[in-house]
Amino acid sequence: MRSAVIIFPGSNCDRDMDVALTKYGFKNLMIWHNDATLPKCDLVVLPGGFSYGDYLRCGSIAGKSKIIKSVIDFANSGGLVLGICNGFQILTETGLLPGVLQRNKYLNFICRNIHVKINDKNNQYFKDIKKDVLEFHIAHNEGNYFCSEEELKIINNNNQIALTYCSSDGLEDNEYNPNGALKNIAGVFNKEKNVLGMMPHPERMIDKHLSGEDGSIFFENLMNNSK
């Protein structure tokens, strides 16, 4: 299993992602945004951070960087592309994923543990995960997911809503929505489900001494299913 983490100027979760992927057995390479081509790999990760300072609009400048064309080609050929936090924002900017991420509802940056419900397991990311609810961690200022009614219908019908914010026992109430996201959406797939974007950071949850361990479940499963 080979993976590639792309470093944009301003990425700051690239090392954390490298640590997590390596821990669960991936042979990981770090790729500079200015490279023209991707190495041969099975998984491409766009990590969290503030690419280009998030100036102009989160992810918009990174969405136009040199490497992105290869990422799009890789995704279109069926390769796994995972975007975490700023990576999710970048993926919506490239058009690989539907919707946009707006400023959090109460206009504050939020860093805390949250729970998400897995809405669809018919994909390589969540296929053999037994739990329905995972405890993850968020740290963002713009995680308020939004899309048009039409798009919402489409992603609903295609089971493209990957994760939704919920209580520890799976209740998707407004109370458990940390940032005002439409329908509590925390992560979405593309139509083919090889591209996943999500706001939570599983890479920060890979050790019981950290904020929690449910990230391990995610990476272990990903390792097993992307072989």
Partner: protein, 730 residues
């Protein structure tokens, strides 16, 4: 423009200082030269009022690799790993423009740390605001928190601990003290001392603009009604550029090409070039036409005084310019050779091929004025004789609820959830505990850090207060299982030209020194902020102490949440019931006079070291130091965090129960132990002559004392958790 005395005074120099400049130069300075003197001789850069007393700080120890005088202090944590850390104030700018003031404070302190070759691994802050009734407080708090978060979050360094305080003495002068810890290989530390002749002087980072001109002199002045006019002196931060600068500098540092490096902080290009040359006993020649500028037609005066952020000055080995430039090109940062080192021992400035300034470096650094300001000794206030009937109408339960929702004690989650405290994937104790803890990446070690200040005690008796803050820091580190290593201090005071304020400073410093020496807890870096005064009203003396401790194995870290029912809680250290200056006396009895609790350094050291020994033998399951609010407040917090209760045994002895439960005697800890190991623990405590009392037994979820009270933990949690959120939302 011809320079005269009035122009010098407008630059913040005194008439005598202007006279001295003329005497030193044996001529009148030109305007650029005058500005350079004013930047180097102001309080912020020259430490002219404090230097005499700072010499008395305790700064040595086998753990110290670098003490005060560099960009930051460095301590040895074993296996070639070293921790670089420092605290710095950004008080004046933050009051004028809270977001940018706080943000650039964080940016500045991180640069001080990565300048030395260390990757920043944790940020902390100590922020002080006026009364919660003051109409400016809410906006200042919101702005400062957003500024700190906006910068630290973007760089990707976790903010792991902090302190927030409200007191009316900060109504006109808030305090924003930011601290950063970085990790470096101890054989690869970079210093600011220049060496070698004709070495290229390199400018890297952001372009120079007109922002922040006179920032350092602004930070050395008292405020009046016209402070709004000072807005242009506040710098504007760009955390994205700082992130690039961090990565580019660390990349360059992997090669052997840097001789010395210094960030451009207060007084920008002026102080960085002068400090590097001064330390290396060299001269430096700069061609200001080569400085990358953001705005057109900038004059030498503006270029030398600009405090534009995210800039560094590097002295490079000859011939390394191209390979260094390639790195900065990759990160899209400016890189310009702007001068060279010389043997003239002068600062020489060229602009458009003309010499525009020439000043001997010594005049700016070594010969800068030092003042032995008059100061007044402050007597220990008399004890208060509290009449018994004032306690009659009080109930412990009600007092506890009030104290838990006191703005200075209540939970600060509203603040720290706005800081990314988990990025870098090594945070093992988050904000809200006694200290934040991060692992040393890729090792079994961890570093604990905390930040403390006790202005109330320092105001009452500065000497005791100074000692107390150091002890508090020491206790907080021990409470998470860390061995206290060293401290950094940020000394926030009023106007040093007033004898009372200067006395507060001198005695706090002497208290800090005494405690840090006794505890082998040396000061390795720091900063002084005077003139925290508005319209004749100064702040309470507020030394902030940033403490750093080491855990040999991160798995042995301790937290304060109660772990298991039926465990026993002990009070380590003796409870005498000192309530003067306690939050109970000030808030409930409305008595603000009297002395702060006494510090007994022998007990402090002995109690702390014995607690560490118990931890080493894995006998302690939870620990929390007893500080503001006394025993009952401390145990309530442990209950709330662990979602457990406790049945308290009534105190023995003659003490009034209010004195016992709310007194703020020092050197105490609450520890949770497995009841079956009580004998074992008692034996060790007795062997070491440590006084202890049994407080009670851990229960399901109520806090109980005889007939006195039986409170559901959820009720206490509401008091503790909701105050700040409600205050900020309404």
């Amino acid at each position: 423009m011809e320079v005269n005395e009035q122009i010098a005074v407008d630059h913040g120099l005194t008439k005598e200082e202007f006279k001295k400049i003329n005497e030193l130069l044996k001529r009148k300075p030109n305007l650029t030269e005058l500005a350079i003197f004013s930047a180097m001789w102001n309080e912020h850069c020259s430490y002219k009022s404090s230097r005499k007393h700072l010499k008395n700080l305790h700064t040595k120890g086998s753990q110290v690799i670098q003490g005060p005088g560099e960009n930051a202090g460095v301590i040895d944590i074993g296996d070639d790993d070293a921790i670089v850390f420092k605290i710095e104030s950004h008080n004046h700018p933050s009051f004028i423009e809270p977001y940018q003031g706080a943000a650039t404070g964080v940016g500045g302190i991180m640069r001080d740390v990565f300048t030395m070759g260390a990757r920043p691994i944790a940020n902390l802050n100590s922020i002080h605001f006026g009364s919660t009734q003051n109409k400016k407080t809410k906006n200042l708090l919101r702005g400062v928190v957003k500024g700190i978060g906006g910068y630290g979050n973007c760089i990707g360094v976790p903010t792991i601990a902090g302190q927030t305080n409200f007191d009316e003495s900060y109504n006109g002068n808030i305090l924003v003290n930011a601290m950063t810890l970085g990790l470096v290989n101890k054989n690869k530390i970079f210093y600011s001392k220049a060496a070698g002749l004709n070495k290229p002087v390199i400018y890297v980072g952001s372009k120079t603009g007109r922002d922040g001109i006179h920032g350092a002199s602004m930070a050395s002045a008292i405020f009046d009604d016209k402070i709004e006019e000072k807005k242009p002196t506040v710098q504007v931060g760009d955390p994205f550029t700082e992130k690039l600068l961090l990565e580019a500098c660390l990349e360059l540092m992997k090669e052997d090409s840097i001789i010395s490096i210094q960030d451009m902080g207060a007084a920008g290009l002026t102080s960085s070039s002068v400090e590097m040359a001064s330390k290396g006993k060299l001269g430096i020649e700069l061609d200001l036409s080569k400085v990358p500028c953001r705005e057109e037609n900038m004059t030498p005066y503006e270029i030398m005084l600009s405090e534009s952020q995210e800039r560094m000055l590097i002295i490079l080995e000859n011939g390394k310019e191209n390979s260094a430039k390639a790195i900065f090109d990759k990160w899209n940062l400016d890189f310009a050779v702007i001068g060279k080192t010389t043997n003239s021992k002068n600062l020489e400035l060229i602009f458009n091929k003309k010499k525009v300034a020439e000043i001997p470096i010594d005049f700016l650094a070594e010969n800068a004025p030092i003042y032995d300001r008059k100061w007044k000794k402050i007597k220990l206030p008399q004890k208060i004789n509290f009449k018994k009937d004032i306690f009659k109408s009080l109930k412990l339960e009600n007092c506890l609820k009030k104290i838990l929702s006191n703005p200075n004690i209540c939970e600060k989650k509203w603040i720290w959830e706005q800081y990314d405290h988990t990025v870098m994937g090594d945070t093992i104790q988050k904000p809200g505990g006694d200290a934040g803890v991060v692992r040393v990446h890729g090792t079994n070690k961890a570093v604990a850090a905390c930040i403390d200040s006790s202005a109330v005690y320092c105001f009452s008796h500065p000497l005791t207060g100074g000692k107390q803050v150091v002890c508090e820091s020491w206790r907080n580190l021990i409470s998470v299982g860390a061995k206290p290593m060293a401290i950094t201090n940020c000394l926030n005071f009023g106007n040093p030209e007033k004898e009372k304020n200067m006395g507060e400073f001198v005695e706090c410093v002497s208290g800090i020194s005494e405690a840090s020496k006794y505890l082998n807890f040396p000061v390795v870096s720091g900063n002084v902020s005077f003139y925290n005064e508005t319209k004749d009203k100064g702040i309470k003396p507020t030394p902030s102490i940033g403490g750093v401790g080491l855990l040999e194995n991160y798995k042995n870290m301790i937290s304060m949440d109660l772990k298991k029912e039926k465990n026993t809680i002990l009070v380590i250290g003796k409870t005498e019931g000192h309530i003067e200056q306690s939050v109970f006396a000030r808030m409930i009895l409305l008595e603000k006079k009297g002395p702060p609790p006494e510090i007994n350094l022998f007990n402090e050291k002995n109690n702390g070291e014995t607690v560490l020994r118990l931890m080493k033998e894995e006998l302690i399951m939870a620990c929390h130091d007893i500080s503001v609010g006394g025993i009952l407040t401390a145990i309530a917090k442990m209950c709330i965090k662990g979602n457990k209760g406790i049945t308290i045994k009534p105190p023995k002895g003659l003490l009034n129960k209010f004195n016992y439960f709310f007194g703020e005697d020092q050197g105490r800890y609450l520890v949770e132990i497995d009841s079956s190991k009580l004998n074992n623990v008692e034996k060790i405590l007795k062997e070491n002559s440590v006084h202890y009392d049994i407080l009670g037994i851990v229960e399901k979820n109520t806090l109980k004392l005889n007939e006195e009270f039986d409170i559901d933990i959820d009720v206490l949690r509401d008091c503790y958790k909701n105050w700040l959120k409600k205050y900020m939302v309404n």
